[in-house]
Amino acid sequence: MTEFEPIIGLEVHAELQTRSKMFCGCAVVDSVSATANTRVCEICTGMPGTLPVINRRAVEFAIRVALALHCEIAETSIFARKNYFYPDLPKGFQISQYELPLAVNGWMMITTNGEEKRIAIRRVHLEEDTGKLTHRQTNSLIDYNRSGVPLLEIVSEPDLRSIDEVRAYAIALRSLLRFLEVSSADMEKGVIRFEANISVRPQGAEILGTRTEIKNLNSLRAMAQAISYEIDRQSRLLANGQEVRQETLGWDEGLKVTVPQRGKEEAHDYRYFPEPDLPPLHLERSWIEEIRAKLPELARAKRQRYVDELKLNPYTADVLTNEKDIADYFEATVAAAPDLPAQQIGHWIGGPLFSLLNDAGIKIRETLISVEQLSELIGLVELGKISNSSAKAVLTEMFASGAGASQIIEAQGLEILADSAIIDGHIEKVLVEFPDQVQQYLLGKEPIFEWLFGQVMRATSGRSDPQRLRQALARQLRALDKRQPPA
């Protein structure tokens, strides 16, 4: 059977988290939880006679993203009206950009299976979001809280060749939006939404096949499933000598199939024309440069720096830079404890703390452990005041209660035993308790040492410094050996 190669492009819509909306002063709120139609005014509900005025911060955020995507930014860009009728679109047109968008010709690097690939970005433009419809049996209800929220559209070239690349691109873009602090990029709440265009062609072919478009993919999972389904469907069609119809599809989450949104394209002739209520948007070069100078370090650069300068292992660096909040927490801890090795801090955040967060299903910004508390704990480990295993238990307790490390160590008596007489006492007891095992060791079965070590450690409730315990145990066993007659 012929092998088919998928050609995929993604169109991403991201709500920008400005304070006020794109064209009016209504607050941008979480449209999932806010009471319906309480963040609306005459402008964002399209009352007759109203006019738009552009939000400066929305433009700044768009420039930030465009710069991070290495785009050419247009000194003059134009807003246009995109005309169509839908109940969630109060004016009967959406203010968007068509000819002369804010930015074009950018790129973003993605990594799949350790390989790097550059994905071209066709354009980045600003527009306004629509309201939200609630569909019910007998009617539909409209909430315009989301209407007029600034929306950034980022369109890639059809450079993606696999589901893995699609996923890597989506995750990288989400990370970029978060690191730039322009959007929560929360897919579950619909803050970013994806549309994919897909075609397939026989492996090695030059020309492109007919493409379909899948709209409203609202989770990474749905996107992967839908695209994968669509690749299979198109490949099967072509393999059977049939044709792919150019059409707009939706993803049926229940049936796990793509379904044609029949008539949608044919019925739409968007009749774009320049928005007469907004003169051209002119961007001063100096402003763009000012924004460029203040661009934060992005995930890829951070990861590189963690490995090169902070000497973190690549795996930990990955974990720490996957989410901006975790990277921020790591960097804050490093800043709070300049004397501690960054590798240790990275290890504790990327390892034990990350596991605790995952198990509890919470975000790092919700943790009760402050960076000062964490650096105190790591400091105690470094000073040998507490063993590694105790420290993990202490971290778990800190995570649960928010109490400080010293407080927990003291309350639970976890501090490492400093008095060697006590340790020696515990060793003596163990050696007396397990004479057979001691005998076997002395007869040359060396692994028994570790077993004995574990028994003493348990006897001291893990409070022994492993190094010192090891030495003391060896010393006592050697002493026993001397009393034995030669075999």
């Binding site: 609306v40 552009i54 009728f85 008539g263």
Partner: protein, 98 residues
């Protein structure tokens, strides 16, 4: 430039205007006459002429990102012919258009 009834129907649908057959006939005639009159524009040589979308020597002003109070929900809904649970109400939206 003569518009057919079919073309008029198509335009009317794009503009979401229900027209009677009589209206379609009238508009076909009237719009054809107006478009014929407007066709003289196409005889003008505009090869090197930029379009005028706005007469103003302005660029778009940018407003500061500050919140202005929204309108009370009841005031926003006051003009709606139908509302429910604080939302505007319409017949069920079927994904498919005619």
């Amino acid at each position: 430039m003569d518009l057919t009834a079919e073309e008029v129907r198509k335009i009317a649908f794009l503009a979401r205007l229900h027209l009677t057959d009589e209206e379609i006939e009238t508009y076909a005639r009237q719009l054809s006459a107006i478009l014929e009159y407007a066709a003289q524009l196409q005889e003008v040589d505009t090869a090197n002429i930029p379009p005028t979308a706005t007469v103003l020597p302005l660029t778009a002003p940018l407003r500061e990102d500050t919140i202005r109070p929204s309108l009370p929900q009841d005031e926003i809904l006051a003009n709606a012919s139908s509302s429910e649970e604080g939302m505007f109400q319409v017949a069920p939206v079927l994904e498919q258009e005619p």
